[in-house]
Amino acid sequence: MKRVPVLVLALVLALTAFARSSNKKEAAAVSPVVHATDADTMRTQGEQRFRANCGRCHAAPQKFPPRAMATVLRHMRVRATITDEDMRLVLFYMTQ
């Protein structure tokens, strides 16, 4: 049992280090998608991510008001452990 906090700490440190070291990579790799000016592309990507992530558990809901949808997506990010990028694209798809 004494090992549990140490193991958890190691896990977090590894993830955090990974997060920080991959910031630049992520910016380069993800930016063309996330920050694309082509809204249609983002919408298509968002729909694909929506079907892949949200469809794992439930049918597609209707679109809610954008500010409510932002809350739902924050909740689902935690509950379904969807990735940051997926959440952003799904939120774009569900609010545009």
């Binding site: 049992m1 004494k2 549990v4 906090p5 140490v6 958890v8 700490l9 896990l11 977090v12 440190l13 993830l15 955090t16 990974f18 997060a19 920080r20 910031n23 992520e26 694909q48 991510r49 079907r51 892949a52 992530n53 469809g55 794992r56 558990c57 439930h58 049918a59 809901p61 209707q62 809610f64 008001p65 954008p66 500010r67 409510a68 949808m69 932002a70 809350t71 739902v72 997506l73 924050r74 909740h75 990010r77 935690v78 509950r79 379904a80 452990t81 969807i82 990735t83 940051d84 990028e85 997926d86 959440m87 952003r88 939120l91 774009f92 609010t95």
Partner: protein
């Protein structure tokens, strides 16, 4: 509240563990958050009240049960990174008394979770409070009435899914172009025995890989109970939605001293049928097969946990019809086979998911 620390040594050990975890949270909050800006959206989230309301009529082995459920979910976002969320359960179970008479029964109240989530960075979310134990997928993701394809619980659901009171780290991130890793690691530090707020001390974790291409998720869970018999439980889960078919498959397997078993379920939406297209698109057919193997506990202990007392097999078939978004009527038939007796289970009902934005600007 009744805290059941077994002895002083155990208490001290947990104090050390808690101190370690407190340091861990500070580290996560003040270090990991640097350089991470939450640029999720220009839409500022608002509090919402959501949840499920439903009514079921269940006839098991000739005994009719009227089950009314109301499960409100409150979501309160704070700033860019915080979310406070809670779900309560109000369930009325009404039966006719032996010998006849009108339906009567208890109304149970239960706090499923009340947690604060801090999104530290794209890879780590810290959760503190009471939370649903992330063991397998049914308890956390598929439990709500409007989501589950069949209303009867899987036989193995009570194993390792007691609520947790403590802290949890979780997250999901891409590992390469073709897979996402999701994980959760948690410690439940209290053992509460009062009605409606039961929990136990345990530690555990879950990890899964999701492959967006084939839409396949596989994962494993582990939990060690830190009280009583201090046993381990392990589980495996799978979720698959093939691209070519409107089919959704889920499965779980668990092994523990309380029992072992599995369930596998498929739900098929009739959207590819070329007659009566509109009603067919709204119709879903479901089938589930499951098996439970008794563990090293007495039948009475199993019964108190909600588990079968003997080896049991069950098959269920159902149909869901979606009247509109969030509103469905449902029906199912199941047959349970065991040495304690075979019986049928019929269920019909209706489930509704609601969502109400709260506060100013909620409808924007």
């Amino acid at each position: 509240m009744r805290y059941l620390f077994t002895n002083t040594r155990s208490h001290r050990r947990w104090q050390k563990a808690l101190l370690g975890l407190a340091g861990l949270f500070l580290l996560v909050i003040f270090w990991a958050a640097r350089g991470f800006s939450q640029t999720t959206s220009t839409e500022k989230p608002v509090p919402i009240l959501s949840g499920t309301a439903g009514f079921l009529s269940d006839k098991t082995a000739g005994q009719t049960l009227l089950d009314t459920q109301f499960n409100p979910v409150l979501l309160v976002p704070l700033g860019e990174r915080w979310l406070v969320e809670s779900r309560g359960e109000f369930e009325g179970e009404f039966q006719r008394p032996p010998g006849g008479g009108s339906f009567s029964g208890p109304v149970n109240k239960h706090l499923d979770y009340l947690q604060a989530d801090y999104i530290a960075n794209p890879y780590v979310t810290v959760t503190v409070g009471r939370f649903l134990t992330p063991f397998g997928i049914f308890n956390e993701r598929l439990y709500p009435m409007w989501i589950r394809a069949l209303q009867p619980d899987p036989l193995i659901l009570p194993i390792a899914t007691a609520s947790s009171d403590g802290t949890m780290l979780r997250g999901g991130f891409p590992v390469g172009a073709r897979a996402n890793l999701n994980y959760a690691a948690y410690v439940s530090v209290t053992s509460i025995g009062i009605d409606g707020v039961e929990s136990e001390r345990h530690v555990g974790g879950r990890a899964g890989f999701f492959f967006p291409g084939p839409r396949l998720e596989v994962g494993a869970s582990w939990q060690k109970v830190l009280q009583d018999d201090r046993k381990n439980a392990v589980g495996f889960h799978m979720a698959w939605q093939p691209q070519a078919l409107p089919l959704s498959m889920h499965s779980e397997f668990v092994r523990s001293n309380q029992g072992s078993g599995y369930w596998i379920e498929g739900a098929y939406r009739l959207s590819q049928v070329h007659f009566w297209e509109k009603p067919m698109r709204r119709t879903e057919l479901v089938a589930r097969g499951q098996q439970f193997f008794s563990g090293n506990i007495t039948p009475d202990a199993a019964d108190s946990l909600g588990l079968p007392g003997v080896n049991t097999r069950e098959a269920d078939f159902g149909v869901n019809y979606f009247l509109k978004d969030g509103l469905k009527v449902l029906g199912s038939y199941g047959r349970q086979l065991s040495s304690a007796g075979n019986f049928n289970q019929w269920t019909v009902g209706i489930a509704y998911r609601f969502l109400i934005p709260l506060g100013r600007g909620g409808n924007q």
